[in-house]
Symmetry: C2
Subunit: 161 residues, 2 copies
């Protein structure tokens, strides 16, 4: 911690200081995704598969349209990934009440994989957060939240309603 206090002065953020924050975001994000990436590689899956599994696990019976709205990718991009996950038995598709829609849910294998991937990231966050007090943790969460654009804040809230 002492290292960081030398590197980042706490009471005023000029552009040079803010650039350090840009770097912190870059390096921390890369290291945050590295763990799951290793597991996914064994299954010949990528980060796109992870995201699909994560959000289907988060909202059971999510529709294709809803998932597209969360991921913000094209139908064609999602289709490739989703077909693989269905074919390999991680996700099942059912018809929704509105028969035009399809709903997605995780199989047992899907739940296991989701759990394995999430656990890596959960443990990483736990390990880090353990060394901080509630002010620090709240600062972290609140600022992350405010970095999100309005429409995605809504998506986040809907997912956690």
């Amino acid at each position: 911690m002492a290292d960081l206090n030398n590197l980042i002065s706490p009471f005023f953020l000029n552009d040079k200081e803010i650039k350090k924050v840009i770097e912190l975001i870059f390096f921390s994000y890369r290291d945050f995704t590295a763990g799951p990436d290793k597991i996914l590689e064994k299954l010949s899956f990528g980060r796109a598969h992870h995201r699909a599994i994560y959000f289907v696990g988060k909202k059971n019976n999510i529709t294709i349209k809803e998932l597209l709205g969360v991921l913000k990718i094209t139908k064609q991009s999602l289709s490739r990934v989703l077909n693989q996950l269905v074919k390999e038995g991680f996700i099942v598709v059912s018809t929704g009440l509105d028969k035009r829609t399809k709903t997605l849910s995780l199989t047992n294998n899907g739940k296991n994989l989701e759990n394995e991937l999430s656990t890596i990231q959960i443990n990483k966050i736990k390990k880090v957060i353990n060394n901080f007090n509630h002010e620090d943790i709240n600062g972290f969460k609140k600022i992350l939240y405010e970095m999100i654009e309005a429409d995605n804040k809504k998506t986040f809230q809907d997912l956690n309603a």
Copy 2:
């Protein structure tokens, strides 16, 4: 802010709460990179070009090897990106003191582009951080720093030495 306080309970983080943090990281990172992406697209550049320009701007006369160590991609991947940036006049290559090495620096065009891209992200962080007190901001920075693996912490420190 009130919204977030309802969504994230401050004094205890169970797995469900931590998953919200995973989502905050995902959404905020995506929105953080979206701004530069738009500019880069006009130039037919991608995020890889941005990163190269950013770190060459950060450390003038950085060698290829050093840049590879920061970006953690293969020589072949960097090569493509770097050749484009040189050909299009954003980066210049010189021979280092050790004549095996090459050193990279930004042209005026390169500096302008680096500045344009960084300004978007700097302004975004400024705008967000303005609404927070120093405890929050320090929490944010310190936790981001601790999310980084040891070897990359060293890279970060070297860049800011």
